[in-house]
């Protein structure tokens, strides 16, 4: 039942994606080189994001890159990560597969462990995860934590009221339904709270909505703090749609260069 739901959702979205023309072929070129990643690891914030149980060095990143590109050493898994998640971790644009770029390393590692043990259910991912060694799981998780990827424009139209409701649920929750705000754990603007709490900002709406639905129905229950099922059970389908659509559109903020700040350009300000 679970598997059929997953596959139906995926194929429906794949069709949507193709018709919208957003799916792009995966290639190795999108993946950054080891030297680029090492450079990025000099940043303390990124280094913390990449935390797994072992020290992340260039050997670990190299192994992670190999796993992402070619799958496990043991083989037989059928496919490498890039097939669906992209070499840059942006997914394939269809929204059926989650974005992994910049995701908290330990979180991704734990998901692989849970897929392998059955604590998180997914026919495709379980088969893949079971083939990975402990080192490969850590390495590929650290690899995706370290890289960045462009954002695909969100699929489909969402009305303003839905987005506003999603933003409200994210920022302050719902007193009426007893839903705590997402930002409690997922950080300001849903940017994540490494090592254990994933980011939501920029995640595909269809993926996120599907996960919330699974939590609501008790089909997924593997979060460290064991809070997601209780929260999702209080959310309606509309809540789930709204919050997923909202976070799909949130981007990590980049400070505006001073010259583009409207405050510093009185000439362009309204004269009344």
């Amino acid at each position: 039942m679970t598997f059929r739901t997953v596959l139906t959702t995926c194929s429906a979205l794949a069709v949507l994606g193709i018709s919208a023309g957003f799916i792009h072929a995966q290639n190795y070129e999108a993946a950054p080189g080891i030297s680029t990643m090492e450079q990025r690891l000099q940043d303390d914030v990124l280094r913390f994001n990449a935390t797994v149980n072992t020290e992340v060095d260039d050997d670990v990143l190299e192994l992670g890159r190999l796993v992402a590109m070619g799958g496990s050493e043991a083989g037989d898994s059928g496919m490498a990560c890039i097939t669906c998640h992209g070499g840059d971790g942006a997914g394939d644009g269809s929204g059926a597969f989650p974005r992994l770029a910049g995701q908290a390393g330990w979180y991704t590692y734990k998901q692989l462990k849970d897929y392998a043990s059955g604590d998180r259910q997914n026919r495709v991912m379980s088969g893949i995860a079971k083939k990975l060694t402990e080192e490969e799981m850590e390495a590929v998780a650290a690899y995706y934590a370290t890289i960045s990827a462009p954002y695909t424009p969100p699929l489909g139209d969402v009305d303003g009221m839905t987005l506003q409701w999603g933003g409200q649920l994210g920022a302050v929750g719902s007193a009426e339904r007893g839903v705590p705000a997402c930002v409690n754990c997922h950080g300001p603007s849903g940017l994540g709270n490494p090592p254990s709490v994933p980011y939501l900002a920029g995640q595909y709406a269809s993926y996120m909505a599907h996960q919330l639905q699974m939590w609501k129905e008790g089909k997924r229950d593997n979060d460290v703090n064991n809070v997601m099922s209780a929260i999702a059970k209080k959310m309606t389908s509309k809540d789930i749609e709204a919050v997923s659509a909202y976070y799909n559109r949130v981007r990590p903020t980049q400070p505006l260069p001073p010259e583009t700040s409207p405050l510093l350009e009185p000439s362009t300000a309204p004269t009344q």
């Binding site: 705590p180 930002v183 809070v227 209780a230």
Partner: protein
């Protein structure tokens, strides 16, 4: 002249744990209830979400959830020879304001009194002789027994989804729980919290010494849980922002999610915010109260008449409201007569710091308000007091409730207070510290009391409450004795390199209102069976005005060696049961004076 509103059945003054609970129970019993809350409306989901809520400076150090002392405060002195001065900043204790009251920023440590605690005078006299309690100690029995309160203590534990291990289930000892507690009718509704390394090492050391460690009973919930009112609570994330903060995770039981959300839409329930009660009015014969005058949100004086009045403010402000309204007879320390303001007591707190070598990393930022391992071997009369020269005791807990950057900078004894050496010590010790507390009882005495200040007034022109308090000799001895026992356990802990203790009630120290100690002010309007020594009878009903019922820690005749929320909520449900069953069908005194 105040504008008079239509009469209501029950007027409830204060929208915290006891006030909202009174409204829930009485509204369901068919009574039209009006709650007056001096503070603002706020909600757990919308007002207490991280990351904004995790602003340590704003909430922990600038007290954004607490009462505004520019409007109301008290004056303080150590003895009757001194001139009392106003408390112009919060410090020693932190009363709340706004929906939920101090129940929003509590830690969630949820205790029961020991059976002998509730019969303190008769218990000690029976065990140690009539003269064991000296003339300068005015402790007395509560007039209500543990057996009578037990169903109510149990019910409140279920309201909060309390996490713990029963040590005495229906008289049968249970391993891992508190072996000293009174018999429970049911186990805790949720399993205990997961303990961090420092608490675990404390428990192991205590067990090696033949003591009886157990996990602290906690209203930081450990599983998704639905309480008897239908409120849904979520599991704790051990974020370390409990005390002084609201919990946007729905994991710390608070009066908004546990009670208010479940009553707010009831036809018999109404709550008014920004409603500052000024005084309670009495009937011409003085035998009953007729209602309360308050300032509404526009600053207009309004009189709300009611058949029954429930006083549900913070302990000190209930006493203040009685004194400014002329309810009950004020206590006079010179003649030792009168009752309102009598038997005020505080709490006697000592701390022990233990530091580990580098092999033990404590991760203090992983914490929760009631995350602790406790021994109760030196609490109440759980140990032989024959040769000790004091009564009472306290629990010893190793707890890990926060590792916040401003407030948590533990350094070993002898470290300079500032400068490079201090910074170095903070860096070296932050992750290697065990935080032990002795949470001690406090006896009441004839010289520690509350009355109205002759000099100072509040923003509404009323005399301020005046507190006359210093630590009683009994409590100084007790606190030192139990702190020494805590230091023995600390030294027994594995990998400990240094141990130091701080007793805030040491022999050479006077009570000081500046450093934070505890918000557990008690007494001043105490419960009992004799109108000469109590303000309310054993049902919480005022002896002098039968339609006034009093709630909260102001009822405690002396302080327990425990946090007060569990005991005072047990009393609240006890009072509400008797109001519903006995008083409302036939209003009048529930006991003969």
């Amino acid at each position: 002249m105040a504008r008079t509103l239509p009469k209501t059945d029950v007027l409830i003054i204060g929208g915290g744990w006891t006030g909202l609970t009174a409204a829930y129970e009485l509204a369901h019993a068919g009574q039209r209830c009006v709650v007056l809350e001096r503070g603002k409306k706020r909600h757990t989901a919308t007002s207490f979400s991280a990351p904004e809520e995790h602003d340590e400076l704003k909430y922990a150090h600038r007290y954004s959830h607490m009462m505004d002392v520019k409007k109301e405060t008290l004056t303080i002195r150590n003895n009757r020879d001194q001139q009392a001065l106003p408390m112009r900043r919060l410090g020693s204790f932190l009363p709340g304001s706004g929906l939920g009251g101090a129940g929003i920023h509590w830690n969630g440590q949820l205790w029961r009194p020991l059976p002998s605690d509730l019969q303190m005078r008769s218990h000690y006299e029976e065990r140690y002789g009539k003269d064991f309690i000296g003339p300068d100690v005015s402790v007395q029995d509560w007039g209500v027994t543990y057996e009578e309160l037990e169903p109510h203590l149990d019910f409140f534990e279920r309201i909060c989804g309390t996490a713990g291990v029963a040590g005495n289930l229906g008289g049968e000892a249970r391993p891992g729980g508190n072996v000293f507690e009174g018999p429970r009718s049911a186990d805790y509704p949720n399993p205990p919290m997961q303990q961090p390394i420092s608490n675990t090492l404390f428990g192991e050391a205590a067990a090696r010494m033949g003591l009886n460690p157990f996990p602290m009973p906690s209203a930081n919930v450990t599983k998704a849980y639905v309480n008897p009112y239908g409120a849904q609570l979520h599991p704790c994330t051990y974020c370390g922002f409990c005390e002084r903060f609201g919990c946007g995770y729905y994991a710390k039981a608070d009066p908004i999610i546990c009670v208010y959300d479940r009553i707010k839409d009831h036809e018999n329930f109404e709550i008014r915010f920004d409603a500052q009660v000024l005084r309670i009015e009495k009937s011409e014969d003085g035998k009953t109260a007729t209602g309360a005058v308050y300032l509404d949100e526009n600053g207009e004086e309004v009189f709300q008449p009611a058949d029954t009045i429930c006083m549900n403010a913070y302990a000190l402000w209930n006493v203040h409201l009685m004194l400014v309204s002329g309810l009950g007879k004020p206590y006079d320390p010179k003649t030792r007569t009168g009752v309102v303001g009598r038997n005020y007591a505080y709490q006697t707190v000592a701390g022990v710091d233990a530091f580990f070598d580098d092999s033990v990393k404590t991760d203090p930022y992983m914490g929760a308000g009631a995350l602790g391992v406790v021994i109760d071997d030196y609490n109440g009369d759980n140990f032989d007091h024959s040769d000790l020269g004091f009564v009472g005791g306290g629990y010893i807990a190793c707890k890990q409730y926060h590792g916040r950057p401003i407030g948590y900078q533990p350094v070993p004894e002898g470290t300079p207070k500032w400068g490079a050496e201090w910074k170095q010590a903070v860096r070296e010790n932050y992750n290697h510290h065990a935080d032990l507390v002795v949470h001690g009882s406090s006896v009441s005495t004839p010289e520690n009391y509350l009355d109205l200040d002759p000099t100072w007034t509040d923003a509404y022109g009323r005399p301020l409450l005046r507190m006359t308090f210093d630590f009683p000799e009994n409590d100084r001895k007790m606190s030192d004795y139990v702190m020494q026992r805590a230091m023995e356990v600390a030294r027994e802990m594995d990998n400990v390199t240094s141990v130091s203790g701080t007793n805030l009630a040491a022999v050479d120290k006077h009570y000081d209102i500046v450093p934070y100690q505890t918000t557990h002010n008690v007494g001043g309007a105490v419960i009992g069976t004799d109108p000469e020594t109590s303000v309310v009878n054993r049902y919480g009903q005022m002896w002098d005005h039968h339609n006034v019922f009093v709630f909260g820690a102001c009822l405690f005749p002396q302080n327990l060696g425990y946090n007060p929320t569990g005991p005072l909520m047990g009393l609240a449900y006890w009072t509400l049961e008797h109001m519903k069953r006995d008083y409302l069908p036939n209003p009048g005194p529930l006991m003969d004076a």
